[in-house]
Structure formats: C-alpha cells, structure tokens
C-alpha cells in the first residue's frame, strides 16, 4: 500500500452512498428454535432428534475464523440485550438500514443449512421454513429487507415447487443457490431449477460459503483460513466457467446470475482466458454462439464486498471498467467481520454516474425495484 488512509475523509461528495441498495445482508436467528414454528411435526421431530447432516467431514469444524467470535462477526454487531449479530432488527437498523438510509437490503440467510443438507427431504423442509422465517422476522417487519428463496438444489422437484410458490411475492427478490454443490452449477441436472428461476423472474444469487464435501480448492484442502477465503474465488470461477461452457445461457437466455461475496477483480482475466480458449476450442463447444465474455457480460452481476484493495487504488477504476460499471452492485455483508462500509470501501473516488449505478441503479434494474 502506498498511501496512508488515516486522513481519508469519508467520501462525502453528495453523499452518493446514502440510500444505497445493499446486495448482501445477513439476518440471523435469535435462537436455535426460530425455525420451529415453520416446520411440520414430522420435520420438527427430525430436527430435534436427528438433526442436520451437512456435506462436511468434520461437522463441528467452524468455517470462519474464531478471532471474530460468532463465526466471524463484526465485534460491535452483538446486540446489547443478548443474541447473535444480525438477529436484532433495531440494531441492524441503527448500524446499517437507518444509518445509511438503505433503500433495500437483499437478504442472504446463511442459516438453517437447507442448501447443503444431505437428507434431501429435510433440506426441502428447512428451505421452506427459512423462507417463512425471513418473511416473519425480516421482510414483514421491515419491508426494505427482501428475502432470498432458499432451496436444496439436489432435490429438483421440491426446489421448483418452492420457487413457484414464492413467484410473484415481491418480498422475495431472488433465489439463493449455494455455490459449492455436488457438481458445477452449469451441469444439466440443475437446468430445470435454473429454468424455473428465470421463468419466474428470479435472478439466482450465488453467495459464497457452505461445504460440498469436495476439497475447497482445486488443489486440495488448504491449511489456513487465509487460504480458504480466496478459495471462494476459485469456486466462483468454476461456476462462471461451468455456466458459460455448458451453454446454460444459450438454453436459458433470460437467466440472471449474481455472484455475492466472491470478489470481482478476477472476472476480467477469466473472461480473457475463456475467450482465448474459445477461439482455439470452438469445435468442442459448438453450442457457444458467442465469445464467453459476452455471455458473462450479459448474464452475470457481481457484488462488491469483500472489495479488492489494489495496491494502486486507481487500478480499481480499470477493473470496474473491464467488468462494466453496469454489472457491479454494492454490498456490505453486514454484520460479518469483513463487511464493507459504503463510505470508505472504494479507496478512490468513482465517477458520479458509476456511483449511482453501483450503489443503486444496477440493483434497482436487476430486481425491478422502485
């Protein structure tokens, strides 16, 4: 880093961040029984006596660093009256929604374990329960908060039924699919689900996290969290590559994909590489009618947090330009330890029209918000 950020004043030029749309907000449960009212007797009993089975060998190994207690939470995000960060709506309002006059907050509930559950029927039941819980605990009490439909992508029929059940309910903005699945997301087994999302007007958000049972990097299991964090970039790259190469965007031309919390500076370089190989290997993938980068630009959106902090801050501008400022959406990741503050996240002032797009207009258009 060649600049000191100590004396940086918040970017107050017209306070452009105010009233932004936050594309990654994490609601949390107040207690382990929050979902119970939304489970049938059959699955409630299952939850109590058998419980979840994730696709993770060491089920009790935390995925996040313990240095920020509570699975990586912002330390000042703990409600004074007890409970977990993200579980207390008044505090969320104070630290995020009201503080920045947030227009909308797109929820990404990383709770309930529905997406990665190995017992598919229980996974489907938990998905429904988490969806109801979002409405009851977040979206109805604060209509700025928009839910993400939870599904278990391994149980196609139930996933489609859940998507169709939520279709047209404006309290839900998108469908959440865990990015680490059993197979890359572009594989045909997932097409019916992706089709249902597109047909019902839901963008698909891929929020990093979760475990698939596969090693988290292409080269095996990493030792450190420091390695784990960037491994999510690999996951995102795999998904983008899979969706493009399998021809998903030819098959489902109105599919919209949002990559959440996987960074974005890598995307241009991936596109350059995909384009290069496409010229060489077109005969292998004749279903690709256009250069991979064109599919990416048309179908893929990225959110900003955890924002890249290039050594030369001005390089951020080139990166945004390569991706296209119409495809980048601001996100905080509140209340996680690595959340970004909209006042300080960009280390370089952005052109005003980019700011409007990134903080608001892109999300407004994608999710058809007013």
């Amino acid at each position: 880093m060649n600049v000191t950020v100590l004396d940086r004043k918040p970017d107050r030029s017209a306070q452009t961040h105010m009233g932004f749309i936050d594309c990654d907000v994490h609601p949390y449960v107040k207690g382990p029984n929050d979902f119970d009212p939304f489970l049938s007797k059959r699955w409630l009993e299952h939850k109590r006596t058998i419980g979840g089975r994730s696709r993770q060998g060491l089920a009790k190994t935390p995925m996040y660093p313990r240095m920020s207690p509570g699975s990586g939470m912002r330390m000042d995000g703990w409600p004074k009256g007890g409970g977990h960060p993200g579980s207390d709506l008044p505090l969320m309002r104070e630290q995020l929604l009201d503080l920045f006059d947030v227009a909308y907050g797109l929820l990404a509930p990383l709770v309930g374990g529905a997406g990665g559950e190995r017992n598919l029927e229980f996974g489907a039941a938990m998905a429904t329960a988490v969806n109801e819980w979002q409405l009851a605990h977040s979206c109805d009490p604060d209509p700025r908060l928009l839910g993400a439909v939870q599904i278990n992508a391994e149980y196609t029929e139930a996933a489609i039924a859940e998507i169709e059940k939520r279709a047209g309910d404006r309290r839900f903005a998108q469908v959440n699919i865990p990015p680490r699945g059993l197979e890359p997301l572009g594989r045909r087994r997932y097409w019916p689900i992706l089709q249902a999302c597109a047909a019902n007007g839901f963008p698909v958000s891929l929020h990093l996290g979760g475990t698939s049972g596969h090693a988290s990097t292409g080269g095996g299991w990493p030792s450190f969290y420091h390695e784990e964090h960037p491994s999510y970039v690999q996951t995102m790259q795999t998904l983008v590559t899979s969706l493009v190469c399998e021809g998903v965007f030819e098959q489902i031309p109105n599919l919209k994909i949002v990559l959440v919390e996987g960074g974005f500076a890598w995307l241009p370089a991936l596109c350059w590489r995909l384009d290069k190989h496409w010229k060489q290997l077109k005969a292998e993938v004749p279903h690709l009618k256009r250069a991979p980068s064109e599919y990416v630009h048309e179908h893929i959106w990225v959110t900003t947090q955890p924002i890249e902090e290039p050594e030369r801050p001005e390089d951020m501008l080139s990166t945004l330009e390569w991706i296209g400022p119409d495809r980048v959406m601001f996100s905080t990741d509140y209340p996680h330890w690595d959340q970004d503050d909209p006042r300080y996240a960009f280390k370089i002032p952005l052109p005003d029209d980019w700011k409007r797009k990134i903080y608001r207009d892109n999300a407004r258009a994608l999710y058809t918000l007013d």
Partner: protein, 137 residues
Amino acid sequence: MDRHVVGSVTDIPPGGRKIVTVKGRQIGIFRIGDEFFGLINRCPHQGAPLCSGEVVSRLVAPSPGDYRLTRAGEMIRCPWHCWEFDIRSGQSLCDPDSVQVRSFDVAVEAGNAVAEGRFIAERVEVSVEERYIVVTV
C-alpha cells in the same frame, strides 16, 4: 493543544482501557503495565471503532512453524477486519510505514499538580492524593 484530565489512574487497571471523549473526539486510553497510551477510536481502514477491539499479543514467526508470542497485550485488533496496530505507536502491523492510527500524548500527573496546573478537568473530581491520566489534544 490543551491537556485534559480524563480520569484517575485507578480507573484503568493494567491491561485495561477506557474510551473517553475529548473535544468531540473519541479516544481510547490504554494501560500497559504502568504506562498509558491514547489512540483515536477510528480505524484508518474503514473507520470502525478501533479501540473497542481485542487487545492481543504480537505473534511472530521467523520461519514457518516457529511461533513466538511477543509484546503481550500491546496490540489492538480492529473489531471489523482485524487489522492490528501497535498500541504504543499506533503503527499498523502489516504496513507500519504508511498506515498509522492517530495517537495522543498521555501522561500521569500527581493530584496536587493537577489541582494547581493548567488542566481541563471539568468531568473529573480531582483530589491531591490521587494520580491522574492527562491526555494532550
């Protein structure tokens, strides 16, 4: 610059801290042994309330696997993105040459000096037997 009395030394036990407001600025006063240090309660990275973070040691490893805990209780870890800073100097652990938390001069003064001297102590009751923490802002 004025010298502000922000409390008695007994207010902060060794290893402890107290966040005070002086001239509208929140300042974390840290006690390491019998020394006191002051840092602005605002992280140079993205502005988090730095001084409410965890006080930790400095962990060094001259080579992989060779760990040494040094400077016990002399680093403050930001409550958001966990950047660590030297409480004594405000310097960043990762980038000491260019990233620094604003620090303030903190001294201990005897009660009689405080009672007679040019200090600003409107919120602190001063008694001559006590010793006081004085921060220059």
